[in-house]
């Protein structure tokens, strides 16, 4: 009798949802062959078990150990293409997710992997950068700077050493797509970094991986070893060293200059810009710092052409955005879609409405520095420009929905306390402003608020926005000010008079 092949995700969140226990229990059975894949990103359905079928995979979801006999019999499964959450997506960068084994290089290559690097090997650095210019790719980590532009600056800056650095310090609460990429499709990140290294003439590469992601760091280390053995980490016959550096729990180290300080082993204190890292970066050398997702987007651009990438999305936000929808929605998970759908559409199509008993109150986009949107503002298109116009950010694509049980004063206090904890301390508006902001909100919480106190908070917020050195202090007031703007009653309710 041949063993029944079952696919189970080995992603951290799938394991946390129960896939780990299932795999442990089933690993002793000789009638089962377990294949540990990346995750589909449909975390509300985890643990998910899949089987092969003539028309593709068949899926069993929210699986308990008792469901095994039915799975072996082939009863009750759903064809993967019939799951609306997945069928409504445009998976490009995440096309392998749920399908492949993360460390199977042959599988990665058989599904188009390393085609981008192959193309780049046959191109001049100028041609690679031109392709990125055509693609109109903007950095996916939050700043949305045109990628080709940075690369061109680094390429043109003469230096004996140059570096390419992947920012894997994914600190924005509500986001995990970088973690999924490193755990689930690590060769895609490596391929993107190698393309960048060729284009700018880099001599070394670093991946700065946050401490909170132990599985990602382990998988990446294996993937780097495999890529090395396959002679993929070479540029013109020279070995190209890729090094993983582990973070140590500091949020602001996700800011590119603080990250470079941290790789150099110092306190993660932000550097003043200019000079920009593309000219003076790691150890004072030209350095491209980009987010993991940005690097992972690049292989397909080289393989399929910049025009292919530019054909998706909106006028100034080309390609796809990877949304990570969570909080009080029915269907938390990852959705990759072309830019341009509205926030309401994203929540309806993928969030699936509110969790049982929850009523929508507000949604926050872009992590702890992102603005809050009330119900009346949900028709905003998800693209860089519309968000910039609204004084909001897309950040790293995190979307968190709050319900009636979230108190907006408490939430605002949480944001200021977060900034006070995480401020690197270099500039006064952020270091002192965040502490004063937290104190003011604590006064309001204690019933000592008044219209004047709220005005003081607004004034403080505007000062931090205008005068902070980096986005931490500059963006920290946004969730607080939008909480006051859209939910003034919750603040007034706490006033003394």
């Amino acid at each position: 009798m041949t063993a029944v092949r079952l696919y189970l995700s080995n992603d951290t969140s799938s394991r946390a949802a129960g896939a780990h226990q299932l795999a442990e229990a089933w690993s002793v059975r000789s009638d089962l062959q377990l294949v540990r894949t990346s995750a589909r990103g449909a975390f509300f359905l985890e643990p998910i078990v899949e089987r092969d079928a003539p028309e593709g995979r068949v899926v069993w979801f929210n699986v308990t150990p008792e469901a095994l006999p039915a799975i072996i019999e082939g009863q009750g499964g759903t064809p993967v293409q019939d799951i609306p959450f997945l069928a409504r997506q445009t998976r490009q960068t995440f096309s392998n997710f749920g399908v492949t084994e993360p460390l199977a290089l042959d599988e990665y290559q058989s599904r188009g992997g390393m085609k981008g690097l192959e193309a780049a090997v046959g191109m001049t650095p100028e041609a690679i950068i031109q392709e990125l210019k055509v693609s109109q790719l903007r950095g996916r980590g939050g700043a949305a700077f045109p990628v080709w532009n940075k690369w061109e600056v680094a390429r043109q800056t003469a230096s004996a050493e140059k570096f390419v650095v992947a920012n894997a310090d994914e600190g924005d609460a509500g986001t995990y797509c970088d973690r999924m990429l490193m755990e689930g499709d690590p060769f895609r990140l490596i391929e993107g970094m190698m393309i960048c290294a060729r284009a700018i003439g880099a001599t070394g590469g670093y991946i700065y991986c946050r401490q909170e992601y132990p599985a990602a760091a382990r998988t990446l280390a294996h993937a780097i070893q495999k890529a090395k053995e396959a002679e993929l980490l070479e540029i013109d016959g020279e070995d190209f060293e890729l090094t993983i550096v582990r973070g140590a729990g500091s949020y602001v180290c996700g800011e590119e200059t603080a990250l470079l300080e941290s790789i150099e082993g110092r306190r993660g204190v932000v550097r003043a810009k200019p000079p920009y890292p593309a000219i003076t970066g790691l150890y004072g050398r030209p350095t491209i710092v980009s987010n993991v997702l940005t690097f992972a987007t690049i292989p397909q651009i080289l393989a399929r052409g910049g025009a292919w990438h530019a054909s998706m999305g909106t006028e100034r936000s080309r390609g796809t955005i990877v949304l990570q929808i969570g909080g009080r929605v029915k269907q938390p998970g990852l959705a990759e879609v072309p830019f341009g759908l509205t926030l309401r559409e994203a929540l309806d199509r993928f969030g699936g409405g509110m969790a049982l008993g929850a009523h929508f109150k507000a949604v926050q986009v872009g992590g702890p520095l992102g603005s809050l949107f009330p119900e009346s503002k949900l028709d905003i298109p998800i693209c860089y420009d519309a968000f910039a116009e609204a004084g909001a950010i897309l950040g790293h694509g995190g979307i968190v929905v709050y319900d009636q049980e979230t108190d907006m004063v408490d939430l605002a206090r949480h944001f200021m306390a977060f900034t006070a904890d995480e401020s690197c301390g270099k500039c006064t508006p952020c270091r002192i402003g965040s502490v004063r902001g937290r104190e003011i909100l604590e006064r309001i919480q204690a019933g000592e608020g008044s219209a004047e106190v709220v005005d003081l908070l607004k004034d403080l917020g505007e000062t931090m926005k205008a005068t902070s050195l980096c986005a931490l202090g500059g963006r920290a007031p946004y969730p607080v000010l939008t909480a006051i703007e859209h939910f003034p009653g919750e603040f007034e309710r706490r006033f003394t008079h």
Binding site: S13, D178, G268, P332, Y402
Partner: protein, 156 residues
């Protein structure tokens, strides 16, 4: 410095010097000490600084900056409760309260029997199955306050 601690610090330094030629930074070295000993003993700072050729203050500055470097021995298990926004929206703070109550330790503190250290954290990237608790390197999702006692029972 307590002899056993001093010995372990020297072991770390020996391992580091065995990889001559690679850049060893202050943070690198502190992370290695933390991994080997579980924390960075303050009394080891002069020795660490000397080995790197930097001042004690530079090492102390890095040590005090990073939340994941500890200056005191943590409990046998580190219980991290996520208070990132996705977890907050799903009442991660109630989970934290349940953890603190069960362990009789405040957030950031270690239990009297040195069994557990409770650390609130901002996002562990497990938002798809929030609220999250991470004990040592084991991730748990969709944790309810009611599940907390049984969960902690696995870590003695």
């Amino acid at each position: 410095m307590e002899p056993s601690i001093a010995y372990r610090v020297e072991q770390v330094l020996e391992r580091v010097s065995a990889h001559a030629g690679t850049r060893v930074s202050i943070l690198d070295l502190l992370q290695k000490v933390e991994t080997a000993i579980g924390y960075v003993p303050l009394e080891s700072l002069p020795r660490l600084a000397q080995s790197l050729g930097v001042s004690d203050a530079q090492v102390a500055g890095v040590l005090s900056y990073y939340p994941d470097l500890h200056m005191r021995p943590p409990g046998r298990h580190v219980v991290r409760v996520c208070l990132g926004e996705a977890c907050l929206a799903n009442h991660g703070n109630r989970v934290l309260r349940a953890v603190c109550k069960r362990l009789q330790a405040a957030a950031g503190e270690t239990t009297n029997d040195e069994r557990c250290t409770v650390e609130p954290v901002y996002c562990v990237g497990n938002c798809g199955v929030s609220p999250s608790v991470v004990i040592d390197e084991d991730f748990y999702g969709r944790v309810t306050p009611e599940q907390v006692p049984a969960l902690l029972e696995r870590y003695r």
